[in-house]
Symmetry: C2
Subunit: 218 residues, 2 copies
């Protein structure tokens, strides 16, 4: 198909498609004339994937390039594969102001993260981005003096460990390509789903507790 047809089917403007082509996110089409190229279903799939990663995934162009590289050329071991899924990403919202992140390696957040991980007995890579993110998140919760739920961080950890085991069951192991695709994209695209559901769950819990009468606070 021509680029105009690709644009129509994907609902992505031609100028944006050309930008993705220039950035190397989308492979070049089959050239048919000096100024014309043909695109196929693979281009359409890839385009939909890029839009999913940019939109709800909230990834930068650089992060998408890293993710697509992992999808196109997956690592050999399953463990490395899963690691790559989370390392391809910065912390949530990191694009805003990376400099604001404290160097967490030896801060109080890192000590607290180590303590919690030891208590729950998780095997994780201490130098990984996710570890730094945990340390920073714990420090922020602490600095803002938020009260945690009964059971604290460990309660969240228990729930997420159960979900992680179930998510791992969805990773097809027949081929590295399909495995890395599910692992990387699952990591990225389930996150916005979780966040949206959590905010709606809070709305529902509040509506149930306080009803619609809008009784003023004491």
């Amino acid at each position: 198909m021509r680029i105009s047809e690709l644009s129509r089917l994907s609902e992505v403007p031609t100028a944006t498609i050309k930008y993705y082509l220039r950035e190397g996110l989308l492979p070049a089409g089959q050239r048919t004339a000096a100024t014309q190229a043909q695109y196929d279903d693979g281009h359409l799939q890839r385009l939909r994937l890029i839009r999913a990663l940019i939109g709800p995934g909230g990834l930068s162009i650089a992060e998408i390039r890293g993710v697509l590289a992992a999808v196109d050329d997956p690592p050999e071991s399953p463990l490395e594969l899963l690691g790559q899924a989370s390392e391809a990403l910065g912390p949530q919202g990191s694009t805003v102001d990376d400099s604001a992140a404290e160097p967490a390696a030896d801060g109080p957040g890192a000590a607290r993260a180590r303590e919690i991980l030891a208590a729950i007995g998780w095997q994780v890579v201490e130098g990984s981005k996710a570890f730094t993110q945990l340390a920073e998140a714990l420090e922020a919760v602490d600095q803002a003096s938020i009260t945690l739920i009964d059971g604290g961080v460990q309660r969240y950890a228990t729930v997420l460990a159960e979900l992680a085991a179930a998510e791992l069951d969805t990773v097809p192991m027949e081929s590295p390509q399909t495995a890395v695709r599910q692992a990387v994209l699952g990591t990225i695209l389930i996150e916005p789903l979780l966040i949206a559901l959590r905010r709606l769950a809070l709305q529902d819990a509040a509506a149930r507790r306080f009803g619609n009468d809008d009784t003023p606070l004491p």
Copy 2:
């Protein structure tokens, strides 16, 4: 204390503190001379809060202004209060490229979101940002052809409903100020904690399943 002392205690550069003062995120100090002002513990607390929101929270200056306005001048009803907490925020990562978000109100994601919410019986505001985020997240999962865990979206929803009820228990209802503070900050700062824990849970699950021998994929 002087601004230099405030900078030392908060580990925030003086230039950054002055920027927050100019942006109105931080209230002005008590002027003691033409070029000097005194700051107190309230300024230090507010500064730590701003840093938590910018760093792990990943909020933009505009979003922080909205959040701080809610904290400073909370709404009267508990329900409105909780709503404000999630409405103060854009979608996760929205700062990257808002234009990439499809108009979801009548897309397939919105229909799917309505269907799921009806099945689980949540009372949520359909026009809310969180609803749009759910619709977009569902569309992204669908477009990327990710396999969901056994039980699908409803399994995530069940888990998050339990956590939401527990989180609501932590909101102190003695005063609107303390309530909105916990509700708003809890919504924002627990999210990065959940995301970090989920990525680490996936690392741990993978390490358990595949061990450290790094057997290549078939």
